[in-house]
């Protein structure tokens, strides 16, 4: 089994009366791109800040490369690069100066060929002063600094906020490339399509707790698929089939959502009715995401343990 690059269990942190993390379990394996999803205020940045040793945990365990992220912060940081969600630059330093300074501060080489390559691909002018950059360009400075030299781990906190779609595309390519080199990536985001495209595994959190975790395939397996079919004759009555929801018929067309265990029965019924066209779509990450939230809304108390159990 590969090394756990990040491992937290029962992580707790409160800011005054606000419980930011309430027993968070996160595990990121070496070499994977791990999507870290949650709405604003769910605790994504708090988790990352504990993992970077910027803030102290109240309770629970947090390990980074097997070490203590608080006590060994500086030495652990030699192996990683971090892109904050809201990049702030020094007003009188140029972008190029900031990139080289951050590289030197993590003891990474500043003359790696990737530095020039990244500047070019992100179309970033490194001679502008910090205060002259737009939000998107500030984000690019931090991304170039993180990607310009190899690292074992990239910690990216909503890295594409402020980037235009073309740059999001460049970012996605870069992530795929460094992943191919074996870099582990923790990708916090609420842009679902991005995570869906890049992530091997996903952890969805809410109110400081994990509501869903696993590979996308595993998670899809546990959720309803959307089925749309056209039949020759009468639309069969599917309302009695276990696991069928959102049923609607329009002439010879029927659409429904179905849980994995109800799918064989639905297919049998449709085949019997003389199906001429059939599409079955696995749930998108967006649907998983909304589904995870809907269920915690309904069962705010004990959803945590249930979802954890279901996901495994």
């Amino acid at each position: 089994m590969s090394e756990r690059v990040i491992e937290t269990s029962g992580l707790k942190k409160s800011f005054g009366p606000t419980q930011a993390l309430d027993g968070l379990d996160l595990s990121v394996t070496e070499g994977e791109v791990h999507g870290f999803l949650g709405p604003n205020g769910a605790g994504k940045s708090t988790t990352i800040r504990i993992l970077l040793g910027l803030i102290r945990k109240d309770a629970g365990e947090a390990r980074l490369f097997g070490g203590d992220p608080w006590a060994e912060a500086a030495s652990l940081h030699r192996r990683l690069a971090y892109v904050p969600g809201d990049v702030s630059l020094w007003p009188n330093l140029s972008g190029g100066e900031v990139i080289d300074m951050l590289l030197r501060m993590r003891d990474a080489p500043v003359d790696h060929p990737r530095r020039a390559e990244m500047l070019e691909r992100f179309e970033l002018d490194p001679t502008k002063k910090g205060r002259a950059y737009s939000k998107g360009n500030r984000q690019k400075v931090a991304l170039v600094a993180a990607l310009a030299a190899p690292a074992d781990l990239l910690v990216l906190d909503e890295p594409t906020s402020g980037l235009d779609p073309l740059m999001e595309q460049v970012f996605a390519e870069c992530v795929a490339e460094v992943r191919a080199e074996g870099t582990t990536i923790l990708l916090s985001s609420h842009i679902l399509s991005e995570v869906e495209r890049l992530a091997d595994r996903v952890t969805i959190i809410r109110e400081g707790r994990v509501v869903e975790t696993g590979s996308l395939d595993e998670m899809r397996h546990l959720h309803r698929s959307r089925v749309r079919a056209e039949v020759v004759g009468e639309v069969p009555d599917l309302s009695g089939v276990a696991g069928v929801h959102d049923l609607s018929a329009d002439g010879s067309t029927v659409t429904l959502t179905v849980e994995p265990e109800g799918l064989p029965a639905v297919l049998t019924a449709l085949t019997g009715a003389g199906v001429t066209a059939l599409t079955s779509t696995p749930p998108t990450l967006e649907e998983l995401f909304l589904d995870a939230y809907r269920r915690t809304d309904l069962q705010p108390q004990d959803s945590h343990t249930q979802d954890q159990g279901a996901a495994r």
């Binding site: 800040r49 040793g53 910027l54 490194p126």
Partner: protein, 522 residues
Amino acid sequence: MTGLGRLTRFSLRRSRILIGAWTAVLTLFVYTSAAATDSLYKTPADQISAAESINTSSALVALYGPILDVTSLGELAMTKTTVTYAVLVMALAIALVRRHTRVEEESGRAELIGGLAVDPRAPLVSAVLVGALTSLLIAVLAAVADIAGGLPVAGSVWFAGSWLGVGLVGTGVGALCAQLSPNARTCGAVAAGVVAVLYAMRALGDTTSAHWLSWLSPFGWSTQLRAWSDPRGWVLLLDLLLAVALSAVALGLRARRDLGAGLFPERPGPAVGSPRLADALALNLKVHATSLVVWTVACAVLGALMAAIVPSIGSILDSAGTRDLMERIGGVGALQETLVAALVSVAAIIVSCFAASVVGHGGGEENDGRTEEVLATATERSTTFLAVALLALGGVAWLLVVTGAAMAVGAVGAAVSAGQVLAAALVQIPAVWVVAALALLALSWHSRWAVAGWGLIVAFFLVGPLAELLQLPGWVAGLSPYSHVPKVPADPVSVGPLLGLTAAAAVVVATAWWRYRERDIG
């Protein structure tokens, strides 16, 4: 002007604590000065001799301005407030205008306002209004405080007029300086430089034969108004005209530039970083490089100006009567020694502001998330703390060395030796270290408290005079680290207090260091 009223109310609300605290302190000081003076002198003769002794000390005249009518109780009571504390009125006006113009532009918040139904000129006009209204508020309260303290009504009102005038000029200076650079700190530094030059011109004009220099400075006008006897009301028109002219030029410059831009286009920076820019201390030095150069030059000029006063003290007092007085207190030499000690104590307070600025900036770096970016690299907590601490502590020591050296060079020909002058400046270092250490402790407790250094400087500056006026027990004035510095060269260099202050600073810095390593960042 669309949005002006709303914007002004919004700004006043946002700055209500700054305005309230500053106004309260100034009003309190005016009241205690007014109330205490009457009881201080039993006979008119006592009062006149007190006023004359101030006039004979060019150190005090350089600091406070002359007393034009020695028979006026009001003028004697308001000696310190007319010019010296008027600097605080001007500083508040500048700070307010800068805060609601350039700081807003630099942070991008001005863009948010610019997108609303607001006239493009409204933010600047509103900031000028905030400065003017605050000056008016302070003036009204100062007049009330003087009258309540038992001073004549007419004089109190004219005196308040001089503060209003200085506040209005400060508003204009702030508005103009805010147009110059896209960097709010640079704008603030330029404005501070303007205040220093205006103050220095008055000090030179009042203490040398070049009296016309005082007439070039609003601080000189405040004395020349002669608020307490035979007032010349037209002098206030000078303040008003200057304020209107400065504000008009500021509005003109604002109309010719883009939001967020300075007067000159920003030059591109290097595409690659210097190999030296590789740790938190180098970063902090780079960030403060311009500021440090400006401070160094300013301290050299300040030291030279102060030194210029020293030899003149003998000639000013060269009359039969005063020479007799002088011989009794120890001759020209003793007088110059006292003067040097008084001047370097002022320099120490000014230099402390550099430490407050560096530590306050450290808090800003953390609040804006830049400290986090550094700490996410292989940088130790201790390094980011020491980067701030070393620059603050080393910076003030360096600036006092510069001030002392400039004074020592400038004072050649005086009765005090260059070595004595330099020593006078150097013994201030431990006291300033204590102030810097306390500011670091505030930063280490929470980044938001990093600006506490400014409050400490004002508090330590005021606690001595206030304790004297209110006749508080001696230990109250002793709270200020500045009060423990030996008055070199008038007094010998006593090692005890210096070691005590240094030890206190070391303990506070060590506590701050420990706390900074333990707490959450951000």
